[in-house]
């Protein structure tokens, strides 16, 4: 009988290495997705994934409540991603040059984008949305991604980012206003159709 996530976390905290391996498998895609959206390229996302799970493993004694494991995990991931973002800012952002990725990863990432049959406009809009998100400051970017893209609630985001819920609401409000401003023409064109 497969274990639930709280059971796996409880086992992991008590030193069960098999439980840790299972938790990695269950959460690795979400961590990668979040990191990729925050940083915009595969290499940085890969670094975040690896470093996050290493830090979670080494700091498992800090986890007091097994129910808080997702917040604990994503807090480590976002903090590391923000640090990387700040480092890259000083040296010029790494653009998402997908041509430089291994072939299998390019194919897999491309597969996730809407197919041409959906419409060229949809693809262009998705790219513009991604670019608009990339232009947001780190905290607003993370809040918008966690809430509107990944579907976390405001209390969960407050726990992940270790800040008051009012700050989450404020950042979300500002991020959405900026995105609306950046995408105003596109959104109006879509509304009129």
């Amino acid at each position: 009988m497969s274990k639930t996530i709280p059971e796996l976390v409880a086992g992991f905290v008590n030193g069960d290495q098999a439980a840790f391996a299972e938790l990695v498998k269950l959460h690795r895609r979400k961590v990668y997705s979040l990191a990729f959206r925050l940083l915009g390229n595969h290499l940085d996302a890969d670094e975040v994934v690896q470093e996050t799970f290493v830090r979670v493993y080494r700091r498992h004694k800090e986890l007091k409540d097994v129910a808080n494991f997702p917040s604990f995990l994503f807090r480590i991931a976002t903090n590391y991603a923000i640090d990387l973002l700040r480092k890259r800012k000083g040296h010029g952002a790494i653009t998402d040059d997908t041509d430089a990725l291994p072939g299998e990863i390019q194919m897999e990432l491309a597969r996730r984008v809407r197919t041409p049959s959906d419409s060229y406009e949809s693809k262009v809009l998705m790219v513009e949305i991604t670019r608009a998100i990339d232009r947001l400051p780190p905290r607003q970017r993370i809040t918008a991604i966690l809430h509107d893209v990944e579907g976390y609630t405001k209390p969960e985001i407050a726990s992940i980012l270790n800040c008051p819920e009012a700050t989450v609401r404020s950042n979300l409000h500002i991020a959405r206003n900026k995105l609306k401003k950046a995408l105003h023409k596109r959104l109006n064109a879509k509304e009129q159709k």
Partner: protein, 188 residues
């Protein structure tokens, strides 16, 4: 309710994360204000598009490569410590190191002796040729040379100094260097 107040609550209204009383007031305002209604629709469309962003997954091949790396840096790096080395092994290792050091030192001394011997043999051969125990470049006297004002161009002391400098800088090569060592040491 003013437009400013309504728009400050639109996000919470959209997220259905608003107190019931405030929700009612916002709804009443929206019924009467087309601009705020347009703002709401734009916000709703943006949320829909953001939630439809496709998931990002690098694929099974990436996971098959990176998951073992993660395990190697975590679970597998907690492997048990190696067995303690016995005292006998430590003594044997140190003994071997001592023997190696002695052999190296002996070989260096032998090389030095050989070089000195060859050098002195060379010096003897040169002395026979020039009928002088002094090195060739000291045998040729330059003190006879004088300039237009009848002062010596090179004094004997200057000549000896030049010979020392040349020997140190290695112009005559390693054998030549060793041949002048006795002269340098005696400071003739």
């Amino acid at each position: 309710m003013t437009c400013l107040y309504a728009r400050s609550h639109l996000d919470d209204f959209l997220d259905d994360d608003i107190a019931a009383a405030d929700a009612l007031r916002v709804k009443e305002h929206l019924e009467a204000c087309p601009d705020c209604r347009a703002e709401l629709e734009e916000g709703r469309l943006l949320r829909t598009l953001l939630s439809q962003q496709p998931p990002v997954d690098p694929g099974p091949r990436y996971w098959s490569e990176v998951t073992p790396l993660i395990m190697a840096r975590t679970v597998e790096s907690d492997a048990p410590a190696p067995e303690r080395v016995s005292v006998d092994e430590i003594v044997r290792y140190r003994g071997t190191r001592l023997v190696r050091s002695v052999v190296t030192l002996a070989a260096s001394l032998v090389l030095l002796y050989v070089a000195l011997t060859l050098g002195s043999g060379h010096r003897a051969a040169m002395a026979k040729q020039t009928a002088s125990p002094r090195p060739v470049f000291l045998a040729a006297s330059l003190t006879g040379l004088t300039g237009p004002d009848n002062f010596a161009i090179v004094t004997p002391q200057e000549q000896a100094d030049m010979a020392r400098i040349t020997a140190v800088m290695g112009a005559p090569g390693i054998l030549g260097r060793f041949t002048v060592l006795p002269g340098l040491l005696s400071f003739e």
